[in-house]
């Protein structure tokens, strides 16, 4: 029934890296919700364990089915996700001024997270058919741009700028990966450069302010600017060996905003110092390299491009999140895969890992 080779080719290395990343994440989360925080947050650690359980199921489901299935039904997955995104705009829960969550009984789902996977699948499906060594021209780019623009616009509307931006970056990276025609690439670049001042001119004053604050947190010293300062103090004060497990003072005093979601890397870097931070970065780097090697070993373009898509998704989130808490990048709501608290975030990244395992274990089938 099951090809014996499926088990023989199972990618234990990737699974091991995933478990390692998850374990590091749970340690950091334990600190974040246990040291000095209100008691109500302690339950988040247990909830995260449950999310990991659900994520494991999602992962298994996404490697059991042959990934060709996702290629064949990619358009349906995509359409379903778009419908969820529309539903969230109509009947989603309002939390702090934005609509991101769909209530599903006691749990809530963030369709914008799933949209990342849907966009990766639909673009991999399209590029597997159209990519040439000459690169894509304008005409071939119309469809992927539209396929990205729809979920992008729906997510901006929520508004959840961080996730929308990650989706755009994933799509752009996948497109550059399959190569854009040189002429087309440069004219796109030029058009973009010319469009910026034009759009700026059209923006309203408060919108300009928001963008300026986004680019320069110091303009908002009571909000983002203050968060970044506290985050930098937390990371820097960890020095080489860190302050020790549950000894982080910044975290204890609730300085860090969203310490269990977006700013969790600061908690880890404060308690475990340079050693812990570099260990986590190393695990991430190995995971990404592994993802690219799966892409390399895949014998069909869809598998390759799919693996690249999942890998760049993780890569962008790691880079943006850690860059942000260290004050290198603007403050946006982007979670750190495996580490940040959040069900939709965990399930999404676990589905991604499942897809990588899927491509990896079926590499023999298309030889």
């Amino acid at each position: 029934m099951i090809d014996r080779r499926l088990i023989q080719y199972f990618d234990w290395g990737l699974l091991g890296l995933t478990v390692l990343a998850g374990a590091l994440g749970l340690v950091a989360l334990y600190s974040a919700v246990n040291a000095g925080s209100p008691a109500t947050q302690k339950i988040l650690f247990t909830k995260q364990l449950i999310w990991y359980g659900a994520g494991a199921v999602a992962m298994v489901l996404s490697f059991l089915v042959d990934y060709k299935f996702f290629e064949r039904w990619g358009h349906l997955i995509y359409t379903g996700t778009i419908l969820l995104l529309v539903a969230v705009l109509i009947s989603g829960k309002y939390v702090a001024g934005s609509r991101r969550w769909l209530a599903l009984g006691p749990f809530s789902l963030q369709p914008s997270e799933l949209a990342k996977i849907a966009v990766i699948i639909i673009l991999a499906r399209y590029y597997a058919r159209t990519a040439t060594t000459d690169g894509l021209g304008f005409k071939e780019l119309l469809q992927p741009v539209a396929l990205t623009a729809v979920p992008f616009a729906l997510i901006v509307k929520q508004p959840d700028l961080g996730t929308a931006m990650v989706i755009a970056l994933i799509a752009a990276s996948m497109t550059v990966f399959v190569k854009i025609e040189r002429r087309c690439f440069f004219s796109l670049l030029a058009t973009g450069a010319m469009a910026v001042p034009l759009v700026w001119f059209l923006l309203k004053d408060y919108q300009k302010q928001r963008i300026l604050t986004f680019l320069d947190p110091d303009r908002d010293p009571l909000g983002a600017g203050y968060h970044i300062i506290q985050s930098k103090i937390a990371i820097g004060s960890g020095m080489i060996t860190g302050k020790g497990f549950l000894r982080g003072t910044q975290n204890t005093l609730e300085f860090l905003p969203e310490q269990h979601t977006d700013f969790i890397f600061s908690v880890l870097a404060e308690e475990w110092g340079l050693l812990g931070a570099v260990l986590l970065l190393g695990v991430f780097f190995m995971l990404l390299a592994w993802g690219l090697s799966i892409a390399h070993r895949s014998r069909d373009p869809f598998g390759t491009i799919l693996a690249v898509g999942v890998t760049v998704m993780i890569a962008w989130q790691v880079f943006i999140n850690i860059g942000m808490v260290m004050g290198l990048l603007p403050v946006v709501g982007v979670t750190l895969p495996f580490v940040s608290y959040g069900g939709s975030s965990i399930i999404t990244v676990m589905i991604g890992i499942g897809l990588l395992l899927n491509v990896s274990m079926r590499r023999f089938m298309y030889e």
């Binding site: 990966f177 990371i235 020095m239 003072t249 870097a269 931070a277 390299a289 014998r299």
Partner: protein
Amino acid sequence: MDPHRSHLASGKSGRGNFLNTPDSEWFSQRLYGTMLVMAVAFTVLVVRLLHLQLIEGQEYRRLSEINSIRLQSIDAPRGLMMDRNGRLLVDNRPAFDLKIVLKDARPVKDTIAKLARYTGLDRQELLDKVALARGRSGIKPILLKSDIGRDAMAAVEVHNWDLPGIVVQVSPKRHYLKKGFAAHVLGYMGEINASELRKERFRDLRPGDYVGKFGLEKTYETILRGKRGGRQVEVNASGQVVRVLKTVPARPGHNLVLTIDYDLQALAESLMEGKAGAVVALDPRNGQVLAMASSPAFDQNIFISGMSRRQWKELVANPDHPLENKAIQAEYPPASTFKIVTAIAGLEEGVIDETSTVNCPGHYRYGNRTYRCWRHAGHGEMDVIQALAQSCDVFFYQLGQQLGVDRIAEYARRLGLGKVSGIELDHESRGLIPTEAWKLRRFGQPWQKGETLSVAIGQGFDLVTPLQMAVLIAAVGNGGRIYRPVLVDMIKSAEGTVVERSRGQIVANLDVSRKNLELVRKGLWAVVNHPRGTAHASRLDWVEFAGKTGTAQVVGRADNGRAGRELADQYKPHAWFVAYAPADDPVMAVAVMVEHGEHGSSAAAPIARQLIAARLAREMPLPPKAYREAGND
């Protein structure tokens, strides 16, 4: 599988590339490129990490040890309120709040003991406050006592060096300049509650903040509030600010210039002193509220400084409901003031005209019941003008009976009764204008024809608010325009530029023929200026105004026969008077309601008269003699 795409088939020859199809080797190249980009990105992250944790690590460790970077908030001054002439009604006074930062105050017990000694405050009370805040972060200041006096503040300042972690913060507190002045209009503030905190428009607020809870303070909350600012500061080990890193200035709230006329409002309140009821004065040319007094009133300042349990009990238990704005919340039978509506309906529907007369023998038999006129001797032959002037019940019994309740209700609604006026205050009552369908729906019983007679003279089910009556009489005075009453004339920024200006908003145009309205106005003129008019005693000799009295029965009409003074106070009828002045081209409309005042002519009309005299003496170009008279009034 397409052989051209397979790794083996493509080989090194490039044979598979005749269709430019990507092969494995081509993908490999691109994957190496991707890998390179990722490696660069991770290098950037690691370099940054090294920079923060190695090079700047010592400095950050120091900053983290004393948690030295903190935020301090800067309160935004709340907008002021002024009367129409710029006279200040509401402002903010500085209050001194005593706070403690636990982290800096250790050992806390000793510090509190010293604090109690220096300031004379109760030690246990202070310790209780600290205990309440247990579990909260140690660097957020905890409020020990708000609004401490200047003496206690001075004591803290003097012993500053001996009181680590104790801070005095100046916070603005709302201040209502004249105790109880326009209390129901200005409203009051209170501490924000949990359900308000969850609302989107209170997103910037925190527990302990004050927000408008009643009156204009509530309606204009977001405009008055402004936006809180803050400071990023570095503090030393004992919590003192070493330097200010960054400041975001607070944005003050906007000021409100009200339509209220200070002198008129003050006069209305003094005239209502000791009575229960309400006065509303409008400008009939634009709907601006010149005065709105509800009596008894209350001192809003006790809501700000914190009232005692006893004070609260007194306010709530008072049978005259001082917290209620009787001008818009209380519903009364309109009594004879409603005859204006019945008269307009009769004329417009063609049931009567200026020649129609009715003979009043002092009573009216209908079915098997006798309905009395208030004047038992009877009025004799009455046309519509005389019937209004002398408030003849029999005339309107007959007219009402011919009109039917539904046609009366239609005109009542067109004159703004039975619905909210739309003034910028919460809790406005709609009043009640009955119809046949309403009674069937409400009581499951058909309308009785006799009930129409009561409705025609404003008794029975009819209920109105003083504000509705003021809007109505203003519309009769201005030729039929129903304005939405407004209390705020201008919203001004703190710098004084006008942000928004009210414009008279006409809600409805009373579609009544000029001739018929003129007849009614003649009747209302005669109420005051004809020797037999019910309010003749309240006329002014230097300006003619028009109005209508009303005496609303609180108990059944059967008791009417007894003389007023035999009745206990709570059974005495309510007194109404509605008026506009001058009669020919009004600049002021007024409605006065005195609960249990007995007669509109004796209790309410004189109040309206004084208000009209006071306002018109200032507003009208008159010869000096008239001014003097008005002043002597």
